[in-house]
Amino acid sequence: MLILPELYLILISIIFLFISLGKSKEKYIITTAKVMSYVGLIITVLSITEKGELFYQAYRIDLFSQLFKILIAMGLTLVISMFSEKDGIEKEYLPEYFMFLTLSSLGLMMLSSSVELISIIISLEISSYSLYVIVPLRRSQDATQIEASMKYLFFGAMSTGLMLYGMGYLYGVTGSTFISDIIPRFRLIIGQPFGIFALILTLTGIFFKLSLFPMHFWAPDIYEGSSNMTTTFIATLPKVAATALLIRLATIATPMHYNFVNVLIILSALSMTFGNIVGLVQRDIKRLLAYSGIAHAGYLMMGILTLNIDGIVSAIYYIAIYVFMTLACFFVIITISRQGENTTIDNLVGLSKRSPLLAMTLAVSAFSLAGIPPTGGFTGKFFLFTNAFRQGYLPIVIIGAVNAVIAIFYYLNLVRMSYSKEAIHYDVMKLSTHEKVICYVLIFIIIYMGVLPFGLMSLFKLMV
């Protein structure tokens, strides 16, 4: 069964569709979701060795796609297992919520396997439409979630439009919608302004998912407006699939096409600088993480823009560690917030006394986001810097280095609030065993990826 993970996700969403028709207890639904997501992870891991092509070569299953699927399944499992009853989703919409969450993951998984323009668009839209639906599903007094969903819908539609426009050019020039056909024919004209224009337009839809600089406007508002759970999902998984797609599409160009590379360098530099500088003044942690995500998209581009295997491997490594460190950060936010409301920096005060383990999880993920060894954030950045430097892109390395210093201000602020500020009165938070396990798992992964990267690196190298 080549597409067993995808079929399984469809099965989950159908099951939730049926659950939504009847009436069931909240707790029961959540437990079902958790158990099914674990099974999904196991199925995806077991299908790692599958190889093959489906649907007239439009859908390729290889190590590359399977590893991305595992990453997506891991992310989905972690996101769902972070879910708790207090999480601010209206009770009656809970089954639908899980249905769309799995459907969106399905779209993302399909995206990592698609090697043809139409199937790319279809999978992208499957995942996006589900997200458009779940963004407004939030128990809240004001209308920020409606604002968020409208913005997400409009920006999303616009970026898809631009992407289709670019793809139209790709098809028009090469006469094929298969990436393997496009690559040799399109490389001939990519040096011309027209070629760059077409390729960049095509990439726009991916930039949107990654929240890279010119397509980043939605991120802060949507992060702030949607429920903590939804934000956790949006902030991590779509970026994984977007990276897979970005690698497929951007490698149409080669390092020789320096005009195209220059555009990517500029986008990368602007994205990290903008994200970090605006991040400095944020009080709402979700907004802060939105800007942090914009900055990290810039870092990720440093790996892509080398357009060679080592650089791309380091980009994959970086997106993997990014998922885990962001999940760790969001987990702390979700756990702190009582009724699913947004968490501001001031809510962190005295966290190290309220719950030492949560404070440690936050500290590890913040240090990792900031790129301080021995965490995975450092190792990932180090690979990115080395590869960009090796290709001779010294300016972007220096900009990246300076940005790492700017970013430390707000990441450190998170740690500072939880460790060196004392709350006047505080109550100790009790974590359940399940929550403790998530903390330990995330801390372990972040440190492991920081200290022993070689196994994963060689695995990623195999897949490219």
Binding site: I372, I398, A401, V405, V415, Y419, S420, P453, M457
Partner: protein, 494 residues
């Protein structure tokens, strides 16, 4: 690789054990509930590690300039990153010093730290692991990881257990140091792309182009000058020192500052000799400014910890002066001075910690006039203060003498400017000592030092005299390494 690295002669990996034993101890702490047991486990770990450090020292051969007791394990082969450890004459004493100070820090926090004892001891042990790791690492990436990993426990030591302004001080410390480190990382990558390996010995004494050397030197120098700290980059130091708990101040002064000067000796001189020589005049000037400026600022301090912190700026000025004199005397003096400063200033911070526990004030006036109340304390304090301004017969005298000999040989005018610094040191330390001993007449009830406090000051006391009166064993141990460094520089720079 093998030509630089003499492999380990022990039956077990001695360096790895010394580095990671504290880590094991730290992890062990997590499983213990009782606070007294936590303290004892931390202490035992520290002492065992000190014994290990002595074992390491017994296996050290002073007759070679090569790196010794080496360990080599491939780590990330695709990037040519290896787990390489080794010691030479420069680092062996710094490792001993670190291992000596850790149990002392545990002892000095025995009653001073009242809350979150477990986490505190955890941070102390992680610090020890990272600090020894920095001195042993012979691979750039390994070095960088230890170098940065040290920041986190140090930040937490200041931010959680620090004084009233710990928030400001800890952030400033962290960001300042990180700013420097990022340039260090870029320089490391640049060196890697040129040599094709992250091995530190492999990068030394190579024929790089002068522009490459200048850029790499500057990137290194920013990182290390912040850490030392040299004159314009010193502003994080008084804040961090003043707000840190005693153990934190001791680690900061005695070990962390040494990493800057160690960096100059290990990286700047051998990897970028020509650029180092080119910039040496500027660094000498900055060192002189640091010495004199530090001295003057000390004269006006009313806070004991701040005074000692600024005196560190002046003392470290002597170290950088010795390094950039490019003479063998200068190098030896600089290394001696690094050790001396570690012993003396560490001891002075411990003394301030002892009195702070009793009066809860760091102000000189509040702690003045202790001569009759706490005679033992004043005895120790007096010894360490006169050692601090390089009184003959104490350790600092030898170090400063060597540095001055070196700098006079290098440049007479520069030497002349260093002399007032030495005089200023006498002025501010004697002023402090006078106040502490005779400054007030009124009678107060303060308990004199107890056995625990005497126990941890005595080893430092012995070192003050030993290094002051018989420095030969110390010099003999690192002479070969420094002579080799000096020769190599002479060959390249001629």
């Amino acid at each position: 690789m093998e030509q630089f690295l003499l492999m380990n002669t022990f039956s077990f990996p001695i360096l790895s054990t010394t580095i990671f034993l504290p880590l094991v101890g730290a992890v062990l702490l997590f499983f213990i509930k009782n606070e007294t047991a936590v303290k004892f486990i931390a202490l035992i770990t520290g002492v065992v590690n000190l014994i290990l450090a002595f074992v390491l020292f017994s296996g050290f051969d002073p007759n070679t300039h090569n790196f010794q007791l080496g360990e080599f394990i491939p780590w990330i082969p695709s990037y040519n990153i290896n787990y390489v450890l080794g010691v030479d004459g420069i680092t062996v004493f710094l490792i001993l010093l670190t291992a000596l100070l850790t149990p002392i820090c545990v002892l000095c926090s025995w009653t001073a730290i009242k809350e979150r004892v477990k986490e505190f001891m955890f941070c102390i042990l992680i610090m020890e692991c990272a600090m020894i790791g920095v001195f042993c690492a012979l691979d750039f990436i390994l070095f960088y990881i230890f170098w940065e990993a040290m920041l986190i426990p140090m930040y937490l030591l200041i931010a959680v257990w620090g004084g009233p302004q710990r928030d400001y001080a800890s952030i400033k410390f962290f960001i300042y140091t990180l700013f420097g480190s990022v340039f260090l990382l870029v320089a490391i990558i640049a060196v890697y792309l040129t040599t094709g390996s992250f091995s530190i010995p492999n990068a030394m004494y190579r024929d790089y182009s002068i522009t490459f050397q200048i850029w790499v030197f500057l990137a290194f120098a920013i990182a290390f000058a912040i850490k030392v700290p040299m004159f314009p980059f010193h502003t994080w130091l008084p804040a961090a020192h003043t707000e840190a708990p005693t153990a934190g101040s001791v680690f900061l002064a005695s070990v962390l500052l040494k990493m800057g000067t160690y960096g100059f000796m290990r990286f700047c001189l051998p990897i970028t000799p020509k650029a180092s020589q080119l910039f040496a005049p500027y660094f000498i000037i900055l060192s002189l400014i640091g010495i004199i400026y530090g001295g003057y600022v000390c004269l006006s301090q009313t806070d004991m910890k701040k005074l000692i912190a600024y005196s560190s700026v002046a003392h470290m000025g002597f170290v950088t002066l010795g390094i950039f004199s490019f003479t063998l005397f200068g190098f030896e003096g600089a290394l001696l001075q690094m050790l001396n400063h570690g012993v003396t200033t560490g001891a002075l911070f411990l003394c301030v910690g002892i009195i702070y526990e009793r009066t809860h004030s760091r102000q000189i006036f509040d702690n003045a006039g202790l001569g009759k109340i706490m005679p033992i304390y004043v005895g120790f304090f007096g010894l360490f203060s006169i050692s601090s301004f390089a009184f003959p017969g104490t350790n600092n005298f030898i170090g400063e003498l060597y540095v001055l000999l070196g700098i006079f040989k290098h440049h007479k005018i520069a030497g002349l400017f260093a002399i007032p610094g030495a005089v200023l040191a006498a002025a501010y330390m004697l002023r402090l000592l006078k106040q502490i001993v005779w400054g007030r007449e009124d009678k107060r009830e303060l308990a004199d030092m107890n056995i625990r406090e005497i126990i941890y000051l005595v080893p430092l006391c012995i070192l003050v005299f030993w290094m002051g009166l018989f420095p030969m064993p110390f010099v003999a141990t690192f002479e070969k390494t420094l002579a080799y460094l000096h020769n190599q520089l002479n060959v390249i720079l001629r």
